[in-house]
C-alpha cells in the first residue's frame, strides 16, 4: 500500500512563520484593504496546507501560495462584483499644483493603482513588487505570458494617463520593458 501524503504540520508552521509577512504585503497591494488581505492570505495558506504533500519544498510552497493569493483575489473581485472602479463616483482627489510632497504623491499613486482592474493590478504587483519574470507572473496568474504583457502594459498606460498632468509622478511609472 502506498504511503499517504504527509502533511508535516511543523514544516508548514515554519513556512507560515517565515513567509506570511511577505505574503500579506503582496496580498495587501493586490486588494488594498488590510482585512481583505488577511482573509486572502488565510484562504491561500489553507489551500497550501491541503496541497502540502505534493509541493515537496518551500520554494514550491511559496509559488503555490502566491498563485493561490492571486487567483483567489481575482476570483473574489469577480464574484463580489468589485472591479477597477471601486471609487468611480469619487475619483482620487488630484494633487494641487505646488503640492508635491512625497507623501501626497504616494497616496495619490496608490489610489490610482487601486482603481486599476484587479488583473492589471495583480500583474503589476507581481512584476514590480514581487520582481517576478513575465513567465513567473503568468504562472502565478494562471494565464499566458502574452496576457501578462498586455495586462501590465494596459495597467501602466492607465496609470500614466491618470498621472499625465503630473509629470513628476508620471516619471515614477516605468515604461514597459521586455520580459525576463
Amino acid at each position: 500500500m502506498p504511503h499517504a501524503p504527509r502533511r508535516d504540520r511543523s514544516e508548514f508552521g515554519d513556512f507560515v512563520a517565515a513567509r506570511s509577512p511577505a505574503l500579506h504585503r503582496a496580498a495587501y497591494l493586490m486588494v488594498g484593504e488590510v482585512s481583505l488581505a488577511q482573509d486572502l492570505v488565510q484562504e491561500a495558506l489553507i489551500k497550501t496546507y491541503v496541497a502540502w504533500p505534493r509541493l515537496r519544498d518551500v520554494g514550491n510552497a511559496e509559488a503555490y501560495t502566491r498563485k493561490a493569493i492571486t487567483t483567489t483575489a481575482i476570483s473574489w473581485f469577480r464574484r463580489k462584483g468589485w472591479n477597477a472602479e471601486r471609487s468611480t463616483d469619487t475619483p482620487p482627489e488630484r494633487i494641487q499644483p505646488g503640492h508635491a510632497d512625497g507623501v501626497a504623491q504616494h497616496q495619490w499613486l496608490w489610489q490610482c493603482l487601486l482603481e486599476l482592474p484587479v488583473r492589471q493590478r495583480a500583474a503589476i504587483v507581481l512584476r514590480y513588487y514581487e520582481d517576478l519574470s513575465e513567465a513567473q507572473t503568468a504562472e502565478a496568474m494562471g494565464c499566458a505570458v502574452g496576457t501578462v504583457k498586455s495586462q501590465v502594459s494596459a495597467g501602466l498606460a492607465k496609470l500614466r494617463d491618470r498621472l499625465g498632468d503630473e509629470p513628476a509622478l508620471a516619471e515614477l511609472i516605468p515604461t514597459l520593458s521586455s520580459g525576463r
Binding site: 500500500m1 502506498p2 504511503h3 499517504a4 501524503p5 504527509r6 502533511r7 508535516d8 504540520r9 511543523s10 508548514f12 508552521g13 507560515v16 512563520a17 506570511s20 509577512p21 500579506h24 504585503r25 503582496a26 495587501y28 497591494l29 488590510v34 488581505a37 488577511q38 492570505v41 488565510q42 495558506l45 489553507i46 496546507y49 491541503v50 504616494h106 499613486l109 496608490w110 503589476i124 504587483v125 514590480y128 513588487y129 520582481d131 513628476a168 516619471e171 515614477l172 511609472i173 516605468p174
Partner: protein, 369 residues
C-alpha cells in the same frame, strides 16, 4: 528622479501591520478540506442523491421539553450515519431533525446537532430539544462526544465548555468562572478536544486541561503541553484513558500505565480512537488505521482511490467515506479491523461533485466552509 514604482509599492506595503497567523486555525480548516476533498474531485453535477434505503421517516417530537430521556429508550445510534439537509440517515432509519444539520455527533443514545446559526439541538427518541448555542463560524464550529457514552460537548458563544448528558438531559458545567488547580479552568479555552465517558479535554494558553464533568474538577493534563502553532500536545481523541496526541514528530498514544506508543506513519490533528482505544483512525487521503499497541498500520481499503476513516462503531468496525475511482459512486464503507474486510453501508451519491454544503458526517464539524 530615481524612485520607481517598485519603491512606491514597497513603501506602501511596509507601512501596514498584519495580525499574526494562527497556524492551528489553518491546519484545522485544511484538514477539513482534506476530508472533503473527495467531494471536489470529479466533474459534473450531482444528479440524484441515492440515499440509504430507509424503512420510513421517523418524525421526532418538537422542540418542547424532552429532558430526562431514559437510556433504555434511546435511539440505536451505533450504525453508519450521515445527514443531508434536516434529516439524519442512520442505518435503516431516517430521522427528521427539523433543523438543518450543519455538524453533528452521536452518543450511544442520540445525536447532538448544530444548525447553521450555531443553535445546538439534542436529538433523542424523546424528540429534538434546543440545548444551547455555539459559534456558527464553520472554522470554529465543533462538537465532541463519546460515541459509546452519553455525553457530548461544545463551546458556547462565550467560549466556555458546555456538556450535555443525553441520559439525564442535564447540560452545563459545574465549574464557574473561577479557576481550578494550576489555573486550569473554563476561561480562555482555545480548543475543545474530546470527551471520554465523563472526562473532557480542552486546552488554554497553559496547556491541556482534563476535567471531570460530573464534579467540575479540573486539572492540568500530565502530558506534553499544547503549544500553539505546533503539533505538540494537541489531543486528537481519548477513549478509555488512551490519549492520542499530535506531536511535532507525529502521532503518539499515551496509554494508561504504559509507555507512549508512536505511530509509524501518519500525522495531523484529526482522528478517532476505537471504543477500546486499541485502534486509531487518522484523517488522511487514504485509509490510515493504526494499532495503538505497537504503532503499526493496518492495511485497509487499498483498492480505493480515496478513503478517509472518520469514526468507529465499536471496538473493531470503522467507517470510511470512500470512492473507488473518480468516476465511481461515493460510498460509506464499514471495515473490520484487523481483518481488513469492508462492505458498503451506504451510497451517498453517484459521484463526488457538489453536495451544496448540506451533507454532514458525524465528525462534529462542517464538511464545507
Amino acid at each position: 528622479m530615481t524612485e520607481t514604482l517598485k519603491q512606491l509599492l514597497h513603501d506602501q506595503a511596509d507601512d501596514v501591520r498584519f495580525d499574526a497567523v494562527d497556524v492551528d486555525t489553518l491546519v484545522r480548516a485544511g484538514q477539513r478540506r482534506v476530508r472533503r476533498r473527495g467531494l471536489a474531485v470529479g466533474a459534473g453535477a450531482l444528479a440524484t442523491a441515492a440515499v440509504v434505503s430507509g424503512v420510513g421517516l421517523t418524525q421526532l417530537g418538537g422542540d418542547g421539553g424532552a429532558t430526562g430521556v431514559d437510556a433504555a429508550d434511546g435511539l440505536t445510534t451505533a450504525s453508519v450515519s450521515y445527514a443531508r439537509g434536516t434529516v439524519i440517515h442512520a442505518g435503516s432509519d431516517t430521522l427528521e431533525v427539523g433543523h438543518p444539520v450543519r455538524a453533528y455527533v452521536r452518543t450511544s443514545i442520540g445525536y447532538v446537532v448544530a444548525d447553521p446559526d450555531g443553535t445546538v439541538w439534542s436529538v433523542t427518541s424523546a424528540g429534538t430539544t434546543r440545548v444551547g448555542s455555539t459559534d456558527p463560524d464553520p472554522d470554529r464550529m465543533r462538537l465532541v462526544s463519546d460515541t459509546d457514552g452519553t455525553v457530548a460537548g461544545w463551546l458556547d458563544t462565550d467560549g466556555h465548555p458546555v456538556f450535555l448528558d443525553q441520559a439525564s438531559g442535564e447540560s452545563g458545567f459545574p465549574l464557574g468562572e473561577e479557576s481550578g488547580e494550576d489555573g486550569a479552568g473554563v476561561q480562555g479555552v482555545r480548543e475543545l478536544y474530546a470527551v471520554d465517558a465523563t472526562t473532557a479535554y480542552w486546552s488554554d494558553a497553559g496547556g491541556v486541561i482534563r476535567a471531570e464533568i460530573s464534579t467540575g474538577q479540573v486539572e492540568r493534563f500530565d502530558g506534553p503541553p499544547a503549544v500553539e502553532g505546533t503539533d505538540d500536545g494537541y489531543v486528537i481523541d481519548v477513549e478509555v484513558g488512551h490519549v492520542a496526541q499530535a506531536r511535532n514528530f507525529g502521532t503518539e498514544i499515551v496509554v494508561p500505565g504504559g509507555d507512549p506508543v508512536r505511530l509509524l506513519e501518519g500525522g495531523g490533528t484529526q482522528g478517532d480512537l476505537s471504543h477500546d482505544g486499541r485502534w486509531l483512525a487518522q484523517d488522511a487521503d487514504e485509509a490510515m488505521v493504526f494499532d495503538t499497541s505497537d504503532g503499526s498500520r493496518v492495511p485497509l481499503a487499498g483498492d480505493y482511490a480515496f478513503a478517509a476513516a472518520f469514526e468507529w462503531l465499536d471496538d473493531s468496525r470503522v467507517v470510511l467515506i470512500a470512492q473507488r475511482s473518480q468516476a465511481a459512486p461515493v460510498q460509506l464503507l464499514t471495515c473490520t479491523v484487523p481483518a481488513g474486510t469492508c462492505e458498503v453501508s451506504a451510497e451517498l451519491a453517484p459521484s463526488f461533485a457538489d453536495f451544496d454544503g448540506d451533507i454532514a458526517l458525524p465528525v462534529g464539524e462542517p464538511l464545507e466552509d
